[in-house]
């Protein structure tokens, strides 16, 4: 009797595993992307995403089927990052722009760094712009950064962000406002045509 129920539980675990796997495969890209934008470091993003999924697995029984899995998952990512990773105070990953690149043959090649403020065509260089934005993001407090990422990269509404972050809509509005204000000043140099135009408010 006792063990029969244990076996039924085992069966539930196994079907739970299959369901969980399909959900992980569906959401792993966006979880990783959020983690990458939050941490700025691919290795840390991978650790963070994996830890989030393991936590999600552990509390998968408490997740109510039919509710939005992604919001539930992003909430885990948010809590994980803000509560734990911040405590470690790791340095954000920033790629050096002036260190020579070591080629496969061992030779070093100097990077040719364009002066962004004098070459408007570089504005459209996706890679440089992304690095610039990522550095700007890294300087924001984690709560502001997460709110802005969820809004501008993941496209969630304020109400959804409030659910994910466990705060009020007013707090979300304030975090996005302050986050973007911080970004405006830091991203401005990435856009040479506009640099100097925006005054701190």
């Amino acid at each position: 009797m006792v063990n029969q129920q244990a076996l039924a539980t085992t069966a539930q675990h196994l079907s739970k595993d299959a369901e969980f796997e399909s959900l992980v495969l569906r959401y792993q890209n966006s979880v990783y992307n959020i983690a990458l934008r939050m941490s700025g470091n691919p290795d840390e993003a991978q650790d963070l995403a994996q830890e989030a999924f393991v936590r999600a697995y552990r509390s998968f029984d408490s997740y109510r089927r039919g509710t939005s899995f992604d919001k539930w998952l992003y909430r885990i990512v948010t809590n994980l990052y803000i509560d734990e990773v911040r405590k470690r105070r790791r340095k954000p990953y920033v790629e050096s722009l002036d260190e020579p690149i070591t080629m496969s043959g061992g030779n070093e090649v100097d990077r040719e760094i364009a002066d962004l403020s004098h070459s408007p065509e570089m504005v459209y260089d996706r890679e440089h712009l992304d690095i610039c934005i990522q550095s700007a993001l890294a300087e924001l407090p984690p709560e502001f950064r997460m709110a802005v990422i969820l809004c501008d990269i993941e496209g969630f509404s304020y109400e959804e962000i409030a659910q994910i972050m466990g705060t009020s809509i007013g707090t979300v509005r304030s975090r996005i406002h302050r986050g973007r204000r911080g970004l405006r000043e830091r991203i401005a140099p990435c856009f040479p045509a506009r640099s100097g135009e925006v005054r701190p408010t």
Binding site: V2, A6, F20, H177
Partner: protein, 221 residues
């Protein structure tokens, strides 16, 4: 509306998260204020820049890492605990209390004997020991030969007490996505292809506290 108030609302204005009233007031102010207009344009620029960041696909190994970490988690007995309710509660209580009571009695008997001169030992003096909880669960699997269709069976025995076995037969989709379970008197029955199921089952059973024994069928590795 002041510039300060307007600029506080610009982000929400850009995101269309303002009430109609607030929206109208911001729009009105922007039409007249060049400084706020610059902030408005810069805010759109930030939003656009973030939205156009190239998405980074997650590494191939991400799910593999999750899978191996999940597999390394101890085989979960907790749901069993909650499901078994009163039985488990009694057992947990007994498991804690019985050894303590035995120890207490062992200490008390000579003391009572010494102080009051009363012999508390009966003629037999036997005491039943609680079933060892450290005995690993034992899983017995029987399965049809690889590639063949049929019914896979396994049973699990926990503890040393006999008669506490239960079996469950499985036959398709038990470990797949489309799980359908039928309940029968003997236990839960599932239809399935045994090969894949047993491989998955074994993966889950790689917990060191579980031993398995084959009682039939082919070897699944």
């Amino acid at each position: 509306m002041t510039c300060n108030m307007t600029q506080r609302l610009i982000s929400a204005y850009v995101d269309r998260e303002l009430s109609e009233d607030e929206r109208a007031r911001v729009r009105q102010h922007l039409a007249l204020c060049a400084e706020c207009m610059v902030v408005y344009e810069a805010t759109i620029e930030v939003k656009t820049a973030l939205g156009s960041m190239a998405p980074s696909p997650c590494p191939e190994c991400l799910w593999e890492g999750v899978r191996s970490r999940i597999a390394a988690l101890p085989f979960q007995a907790e749901p069993e605990r909650t499901r078994l309710g009163p039985l488990r509660a009694v057992w947990s209580f007994a498991r804690l209390v019985v050894p303590a009571a035995v120890a207490g009695t062992i200490v008390a008997i000579p003391l009572v004997h010494m102080i009051f001169g009363i012999s508390l030992f009966g003629p037999a003096g036997t005491r039943q020991q609680p079933i060892s909880s450290s005995t690993p669960p034992r899983l017995v699997i029987s399965a049809p030969a690889s590639g063949e269709s049929g019914v896979a069976r396994y049973s699990m025995t926990r503890g040393v007490a006999s008669g506490q076995t239960a079996s469950m037969s499985s036959s398709s989709g038990l470990f797949g996505l489309d799980t359908t379970a039928r309940h029968s008197d003997r236990g839960d029955e599932y239809s399935s292809s045994p090969d894949e199921q047993l491989n998955l089952l074994l993966r889950r059973m790689q917990d060191s506290s579980v031993t398995y024994t084959w009682i039939g069928g082919s070897t699944h590795e």
